[in-house]
Symmetry: C2
Subunit: 458 residues, 2 copies
């Protein structure tokens, strides 16, 4: 199939697609709120039926939490080895509060100015649905000649715990060559974007205990160690003056940055001034030896998410606080093991805690490792070619700083090369009131998936 | 008068003293709570009348807040120059909450096991009253041959603002040679103690502003400066690795420590193990080049009273906090000007704030300078001699770490050499439920004051 015929097919079915997409959006599949358990189940059942209808073998896979929708298409027998594509998406959505800020009911989808408004219109029901519609068209046309597996989980918005817990057990059924995910965004309408990396994540909470109660800072000041001062020293000790991480061995094993990927990352179309206008401060943090986009995409960071000790009200209160605590998270890059990095941080904190205060790690959790793609791999070259065909401009390559731990886990378990391409835009208001998705972006997604499946079916 | 005759006089009047002391304690002169304004006024009036009755010329001095009681005794004409003693005390008391923990009504004084129980029984009505009773006895006996001025303020427990505001205006009336204060404690019953120093105090609140809102720590981690990490670095920068203060010029002008005073301070009768058992941690803070009691008495300290930034709830929240703030106070020693020290801290913080975050000093206040006595001064030698006579053991010298800014101010304004001797004990529960004062300690105070006035009348 070529682009023109796919566009024709889309136009012929647009009304029909919109109707079904709206049906899917009517389910109040809010995973974080227990009162919507049944809506989540109904939504999953609808998807199983729907995937059966378009010609896939479907099933509901149970997890300790929300069920996962699984569907499979086996390519017609061929003398050539055909690739297997695994698609990951999620059917659960964010809560709708504050609901009074919505122009129309979040679960009564409405089209206004070429956009479909509803909770999940984009994230991720909308982006999953253009994938499904592209598959439907390809099966109907008899052009789908690769194997295809679709998994749609039901709790991405609340941590994917049940899904993650089952991955090892499902491993043999999930084996694939390519892992396609359409849960990301692009920089502007009409330009494609490939998410080339995600950072790994782990976090911990540390407490420092000093005296057995808040002490008078006059009577005891200069005599005992002050936990508020000591936590400051301890957190400060995580960094070198040049902004790099001072934890011994932290950078060991970090995958080197490919020169051409570095150039692509630095070509990210947002100037430092635009960035500063957006967040209110210049990008002056982190390792000064790297550019902001290199730091975000290719370098680990340790971030203090919170630090609390002692008095916080108006005026003064002359105490030496009894305790202090801090929330620390780290973003990791390819080549770093989250568990190992946590243990390096723990060791650093332990060896930098002086006598007179006591360190306690009160919480510790590993999200998952990083993902990193190279612009030189076949799958990225293929996606870039397709995106250029769809958008008629070169795509943007985005090495993201954020983490989607479940994608990293799924890539590991399935053995598939991840490919993250999405058509979301800032204006879609995901996780916020009045979420919507432009029908044009939905169509671009449909074109991209159709052409990718076509390429993979060669 | 000698010790024996003073003891006889006390015994003869004990019942009478107790009755009057109880009368004074019945006034609910809680200065912090506006509902007790009238009780405070009645208490002040009672004191003015009482001081008239014992033979002093008394008056109520108005301030912008609670009134100050002033009384004066002019020594009989003599061919020798006689010294002028200024006594400072306060008639206001702490609130009584939680009142349900009191065994008897806090304002219905009761004697149990040789102690008088009531709010203010010790702090400071009790200790001021043995001073007044000793004065009464001396006037009655015709042995008081020095000039005496008594000021009793009404808002020591809530910051002495009104009193402090009037000091300059009252300056000429307050001129004296010795400033006696009986608002401190001793180490154990039967041992006298001279408070040889108080530290000065100043404090400030600083805020660090980074991004215009909390940012996603994945998307922006390593790109922008993190205010929680930067406040940690900034606070840590206040200290050198050896525990000394790293603020440039901070120790300039600090009065040197006299070798014999240093020895007396180190003789403070509390072992490090006893100290650790009391506060729950070893005295490992501050400048390692000094002993704990030297650090407390002779060295300034900068203490972090609170630091707050970002998330503090359960689990993780992957944000870069938009802001951070810290409450910082400093205790100062003789030779340091609080205003100058604040400006040194401000300068240090400003010059250590990196680009990408913005420093704001949101609150700043000066308490007052330090007080330091030397064991070699006449007044201290005299007090030591008297305390040895009263207690029959050598007194303890305590260079305190805490601050009573009003005493420093009063010493400055009056030009008088301060002398802080009190008979309070930990078991008196000042500021807590079931405050009490042992009649034996009250008597020791009476003996000490009587003998001091006798010495000063020579």
């Amino acid at each position: 199939m070529n682009k023109t015929s796919i566009e024709t097919e889309f136009s012929a079915n647009q009304e029909h697609f919109l109707k079904e997409w709206s049906e899917l959006l009517r389910f109040k599949s809010i995973s974080t709120d227990p009162s919507y358990v049944q809506e989540c189940q109904c939504c999953a059942n609808w998807l199983v039926d729907h995937l059966e209808q378009i010609g896939m073998e479907s099933a509901l896979w149970l997890t300790p939490s929300k069920a996962t929708v699984f569907a499979e298409f086996t390519a017609p027998v061929s003398k050539d080895k055909v690739p297997t594509v695994l698609f990951y998406g999620h059917y659960d959505v964010q809560p709708v509060d504050p609901v009074e800020l919505w122009t129309s009911d979040p679960f009564d989808p409405q089209v206004r100015d070429g956009r479909l408004y509803a909770r999940g219109a984009q994230d991720n029901k909308g982006q999953a649905f253009y994938f499904i519609k592209a598959v439907e068209s390809a099966i109907k046309a008899g052009t789908l000649r690769c194997n295809l597996k679709i998994v749609l989980e039901g709790e991405e918005e609340c941590g994917s715990e049940g899904f993650s817990a089952k991955l090892d057990e499902w491993s043999s059924k999930l084996q694939a060559d390519v892992l396609m995910v359409c849960d990301t965004g692009t920089v502007k309408a009409g330009t494609g974007a490939i998410t080339m990396g995600l950072r790994g994540i782990a976090h911990l909470t540390v407490a420092l205990k000093g005296p057995n109660k808040d002490l008078h800072s006059g009577v005891h000041g200069g005599v005992v160690r002050n936990p508020a001062a000591e936590i400051s020293r301890l957190l400060a000790s995580l960094y070198n003056p040049d902004g790099s991480i001072a934890v011994a061995g932290y950078y060991d094993g970090c995958t080197a940055i490919d020169a051409s990927d570095r150039a692509l990352a630095n070509a990210f179309p947002l100037s430092m001034t635009e960035y500063a206008a957006m967040v209110g401060t210049l990008p002056e943090g982190g390792e000064q030896a790297f550019t902001p986009w290199e730091r975000r995409g290719f370098r680990p960071t340790i971030e203090i998410n919170g630090v609390h000790s002692g008095y916080g009200g108006p005026g003064g209160k002359t105490i030496i606080p009894a305790t202090a605590f801090a929330k620390i998270s780290t973003r990791l890059v390819a080549g770093q093991d989250p568990q190992h990095c946590l243990s390096l941080i723990r060791k650093h904190l332990e060896s930098n805690t002086p006598r007179g205060v006591e360190l306690e790690i009160t919480e510790e959790s590993v999200g998952g490792p990083a993902l990193r793609l190279s612009s030189k791999t076949d799958i990225v070259r293929c996606a870039a070619k397709v995106l250029k065909e769809v958008c008629e401009v070169d795509p943007v390559y985005m090495w993201e700083g954020a983490s989607i731990p479940v994608v990293s886990s799924l890539a590991q378990v399935s053995g598939a090369a991840p490919l993250l391409v999405g058509f979301g835009l800032e204006e879609d208001n995901i996780h916020a009131p009045n979420e919507s998705f432009a029908i044009d972006q939905f169509k671009q997604g449909y074109l991209y998936v159709s052409l990718m499946l076509s390429e993979l079916s060669r």
